[in-house]
Subunit: 346 residues, 2 copies
């Protein structure tokens, strides 16, 4: 008999609520012979306030034992900006070398988009997860004085760029349209830009079936709202990926349905799956949060672990559920989770 | 009698065509007693191919003699990415210390937006123009090998941040809604983020009437497509400003109508005004380009030089022209310029 050993990090705000529904749907979809084991971790604002800890070496050792990690949301206004982001979220991505940050955007039938007309949106962003301006390199001198200077260093390596570009080409190759866009700002960030562009062009030679294009990040934001159907797979650096995936989520139905995976394709460390939305403290504890993005993150998790049929069943259930929402009264967090659990089991 | 001594840089692609219309409207709107003198400069791809030069010290000395600069567009696919951007556009911004990059976004009646519904859009972005990741700091080691490392350094100084933040507060104070949003990514870029946030909060204390908010750049892209009416004035760093102003232009009618100013408020060097769009080589020389963004850039130029009434006349003429476009056949570049020249003169 098989087993799925999952680390569960509900986190802050609505994280608790949405993760409960994600697990509900996961239990409902898993084959009978798969033994689901979960261990809950209390990371986030409460732990930080109680102990001052965000993520210790012992925590990392413990997390390492799992097949995968499901996370709700981390972040609370009571914690200074950056403490949990750098001390937990980014620390985990870096410690487990989550270099493929996968963010699919698909506008599903029945889902509202802020765009006019009926745009066709179905693309996936492969965002680099361990380099760029996210490394924490940089510093401050003369802090708090009128002569303060603060720097942020974007670090880009051939090793780091090549592996994520290769991953993106393989994903593009596996999709019907076989298109890949590199998004950067190589006309201004010429050092990093040349590295990204050269490696992109080199790897392209190994994937002759994939059609490629290059786009500056500023132009990409225009296309994302005027011609989103243009995109199939996008590969980009950590910061540009952060920015354009929020925009992509907004145009393809909002962050209520946007899922993501922080993936280490080698399997050396467990990968982590989470909704793109944050902890939304304003609606926490009210049963109002939409757990759909978390449920879709569970689908990404299952596909990553080889449970393709189960992942597809979740995605189909979500599509069917969304298609029937229009005109119906809003349901609670657990109401949506229950409905999805019934659908995937049926 | 007064004089306006203008440096004109038509540049590449459609730059020539749109600048001609900008000058046409400028001549039509200027009071009789103002003597308009223009000197044309041949910067851009042709000069680069002919001489290898982008912008020399002698060029800068000559440009310095003018009251202001009007630019069409610089850039051509025949020139490697980065050469004209770093060698001309950014060199000029840095040499003339154009630290206030002003980009208004207003959705005018009759103008199509990719957003659904009828969004109310009327805000202005104050983008820092001389710091951040645009300084050209950084470098490459082991270029072209599998061990290449490329860095880009974002440089942020209290001096540089404070002056642009102060400018933005003054602009917010002068507008009816008196709102100012700081956009950054202070939860990840903590060194630069703290500098920006602290200075923003300090200067805020001097402008008690201005309502402020802070927003991460990724979240800002969501609001720009879901709640653009939320914004009044935005202040942000050079790179975030580059990205969100293209998105802002897209949602508020497209880059066909987006104007910008590269301003040195001290007047120590002439400020430069240009449409946000590029050289669009695909439609160059066909009389198809819309000169409206250039004409609106002329309005920004006039307002900067104190010709407020004339600036308003141009803006009113553009509004009236846009409002009457729907359903009419497309006009040529000069057709639009002629119509606007008639309106401002009348
Ligand atoms: C919270 C923050 C550290 C994070 C990021 O910038 O990567 C978030 O915005 C995301 O996109 O996952
Ligand atoms: C062409 C490029 C250097 C420039 C920039 O990035 O500032 C452009 O995108 C702009 O916004 O003016």
């Amino acid at each position: 008999s098989r087993s799925l050993n999952l680390a569960v990090i509900p986190g802050d705000g609505i994280g608790q609520e949405v993760v409960a529904e994600g697990l509900k749907v996961l239990s409902a979809v898993l084959p009978q012979d798969v033994k689901l084991e979960t261990k809950e971790y209390d990371f986030g604002a409460r732990r930080y306030h109680a102990t001052g800890e965000t993520l210790t070496d012992a925590d990392l050792d413990s997390l390492k034992q799992h097949d995968a990690i499901l996370l709700g949301a981390i972040g609370d206004p009571s914690v200074p900006s950056g403490v949990l982001e750098r001390g937990f979220l980014l620390k985990l991505r870096f410690a487990f070398d989550h270099h493929v940050n996968l963010r699919p955007s698909k506008l599903l039938p029945g889902v509202a988009t802020p765009l006019a007309g009926e745009p066709q949106i179905d693309f996936v962003v492969v965002r680099e997860g361990t380099e760029g301006p996210y490394t924490g390199n940089g510093g401050t001198i003369r802090k708090g004085t009128e002569h303060e200077v603060a720097t942020e260093v974007s670090v880009n390596t051939a090793f780091g760029v090549e592996r994520v570009v290769r991953d993106a080409f393989a994903r593009a190759q596996a999709r019907p349209r076989k298109k890949l866009a590199l998004i950067h700002k190589n006309n201004v960030l010429t050092f990093a830009g040349h590295l990204w562009t050269n490696i992109f062009n080199q790897v392209a030679a190994e994937f002759p079936e994939v059609t490629t294009e290059y786009m500056h990040v500023d132009a990409a934001t225009i296309y994302l709202v005027t011609q989103p159907e243009r995109f199939d797979v996008i590969v980009t650096d950590n910061l540009f990926g952060d920015i354009i995936t929020d925009l992509a989520a907004a145009v393809s139905g909002g962050i209520g349905v946007a899922a993501s995976g922080n993936i280490n394709p080698s399997g050396a460390f467990p990968s982590m799956f989470e909704p793109v939305h944050g902890s939304a403290p304003d609606i926490a504890g009210q049963g109002k949060a939409d757990p759909t993005a978390t449920v879709l993150s569970v689908a990404l998790l299952l596909r990553h672990l080889g449970y393709d049929a189960e992942a597809t069943r979740i995605e189909d259930a979500v599509s069917a559920d969304l298609a029937e929402r229009t005109g119906k009264p809003a349901r609670s967090t657990s109401g949506i989770g229950d409905a999805l659990a019934v659908r995937v089991a049926g």
